[in-house]
């Protein structure tokens, strides 16, 4: 059978966007194949918020001057911290998780023999995860508003959106660095471990940075998450715009500009190392 003649009509110039869409659809199909997976995620967010809601009620009568820059209430403060922390978790782990899965199953090699640039494989592989992470933030806010009396009335939505984008841009390079470590060292990925713990401790997820000793609070300024969360809180809780939050925005842009080329170069080096050592399909 002359199957090749039929093929010639199939060749078409499909853009990079179509390739990116293919990754998104692949991950969507995978997610849909686990029908309860998303439901459990939503349930987990709900129970986490219930816990912190009652903790917030416990603290409601206490005098907490450290919370005054954030409206004085603990629950809205921690809700935004939790939401952005889950977003950061995706930024730090999505690329390396996908790379590990690809190495383990052999799908990474299968992708690398197609004429798809490496950068497209990296970014497109995590697009769906970021879509889900963004959806999770909306679920956090939705539960907060619908069930726990959280108010978005004074939020500056434009600044909120800008800080979510900046949070992504400043932290995704760290996720790419993490994936590069995984490619070379397989399991010993210091980026996720160190940054994950540091951000929880120093980023101000559960408590304002003012409660930390001075030098520790200074250290926290070197973590992009700290600035992203501060910007997000001020935009949502106090309605501040980009004029007031310019410093945080510039710092996050600087992190992104400095870290993106570095992380991509390191990842490309890691792939080359894996190809040199023959470990692309070793786990």
């Amino acid at each position: 059978m002359k199957i090749w003649k039929i093929f010639t009509s199939g060749r078409s110039k499909i853009s990079i966007l179509t390739k990116i869409r293919a990754f998104f659809v692949r991950d969507l199909y995978e997610e849909l194949s686990y029908p309860l997976s998303f439901t459990w995620r939503v349930g987990s967010i709900f129970f986490k918020l219930v816990t912190f809601y009652f903790l917030g009620r416990l603290l409601a009568g206490a005098l907490l001057p450290e919370l005054s820059p954030y409206g004085g209430q603990y629950f809205p403060f921690v809700l935004l911290g939790l939401a952005l922390a889950s977003f950061q978790g995706v930024a730090l782990t999505a690329v390396s998780n996908r790379i590990l899965y690809g190495m383990y199953t052999g799908t990474l090699e299968a992708m690398l023999v197609t004429p798809t640039p490496l950068a497209v494989i990296i970014f497109a592989s995590v697009l769906y995860q970021f879509f889900l992470a963004l959806l999770e933030i909306l679920i956090y806010l939705g539960f907060g508003v619908g069930l726990f009396g959280f108010s978005l009335g004074s939020a500056n939505l434009a600044a909120t959106a800008v800080f979510l984008v900046l949070a992504l841009l400043s932290q995704l390079p760290l996720g790419i660095l993490s994936a590069a470590f995984v490619l070379v060292f397989k399991k010993d990925d210091p980026v996720t471990v160190i940054l994950g713990h540091l951000s929880a401790l120093l980023g101000g997820v559960y408590f304002p940075l003012k409660v930390l000793p001075g030098w520790v609070a200074t250290l926290s300024q070197f973590i992009p998450f700290t600035h992203a969360l501060e910007g997000l809180r001020q935009a949502v809780l106090n309605g501040q715009g980009l004029t007031q939050l310019g410093t945080q925005a510039i710092i996050l842009c600087a992190f992104a500009v400095a870290l993106f080329p570095l992380s991509l170069a390191f990842f490309a080096w890691a792939v080359r190392q894996a190809k040199r050592l023959g470990t692309l399909s070793q786990f």
Binding site: G10, Y34, T105, M111, L280
Partner: protein, 252 residues
């Protein structure tokens, strides 16, 4: 059509160092093994080569290097006259790599969804390219089932289908019939003969000498990273030839 050879391998060597942290901290070559040594090869369009040899002799390493999945320590590879190391995306458009790993798919996706994903990575419209390949490989009744529910034979056929989706000029096959039942293995050998007759350049790694006989063309014996080509006489039994050549090589 270009008059350049389909595949040219020039002075190719590949070294696998032991995986130790110190290898990243030194310029000196860490201890390891030479998987390939000074391999030379040239295949004209439409020619085919079967690579045989003991386990660990460098067969898979050679085709992974041609597929751009490994980088050489020495030497170069040209695909239709273009340096594959410098232009890997161009090379990949012309190469169909069919792995020995039938698990390199997404288990929760159907066969069709898997093929559609890889077709799009090749810049192709899945609705156009999947049906004829699926028909030829008798995959149509299985395409809408999830990959994890497939038998080994169907997984292997899906692997071959993926390698053919983009109509490559050159096929790199790594043990395409290993772990298959005799009937499926025969079907795949017939497909390879059909592809050979269509003018495809085929490089196949196998341990089954009857496959080399069936495919015809050149026979490459690999041992300890070195490639030696032998030309069987008409009617000569491949197994006898292989055993004689390998024993000769050991005795030298």
């Amino acid at each position: 059509m270009s008059s350049a050879p389909a595949v040219t391998v020039s002075n190719l060597s590949k070294y696998f160092p032991q995986l130790e942290l110190r290898q990243f901290l030194t310029w000196r070559r860490p201890p390891g093994v030479w998987a390939l040594k000074d391999v030379e090869l040239e295949l004209a369009p439409g020619e085919n080569l079967t690579l045989v040899g003991p386990n660990g002799s460098g067969k898979t390493t050679l085709i992974k290097l041609i597929a751009t999945l490994l980088v050489p320590d020495q030497g170069r590879i040209f695909v239709h006259g273009r340096d594959a190391g410098r232009h890997p995306l161009e090379a990949r458009r012309r190469l169909g790599y069919i792995t020995a790993n039938e698990y390199s798919f997404y288990g929760r996706l159907s066969g069709r969804q898997n093929l559609a994903f890889f077709a799009q990575l090749h810049g192709l419209d899945p609705r156009v390219v999947i049906p004829p390949v699926a028909r030829r490989l008798k995959l149509e009744p299985h395409l809408d089932r999830r990959f994890f529910s497939y038998s080994t034979g169907i997984k292997r056929r899906l692997d071959i289908a993926r390698g053919l989706l983009h109509q490559p000029d050159i096929l790199l096959l790594d043990e395409p019939t290993s772990n298959l039942d005799p009937i499926t293995a025969v079907e795949i050998r017939e497909l390879l003969v059909e592809l050979r007759n269509l003018g495809k350049t085929i490089i196949m790694v196998t341990h089954r000498l009857e496959e080399a006989e069936k495919l015809g063309g050149r026979l490459g014996i690999m041992q300890e990273g070195r490639l030696r080509e032998v030309r069987p006489a008409p009617g000569e039994n491949m197994e006898d030839l292989y055993l004689r050549e390998v024993q000769d090589q050991y005795s030298h």
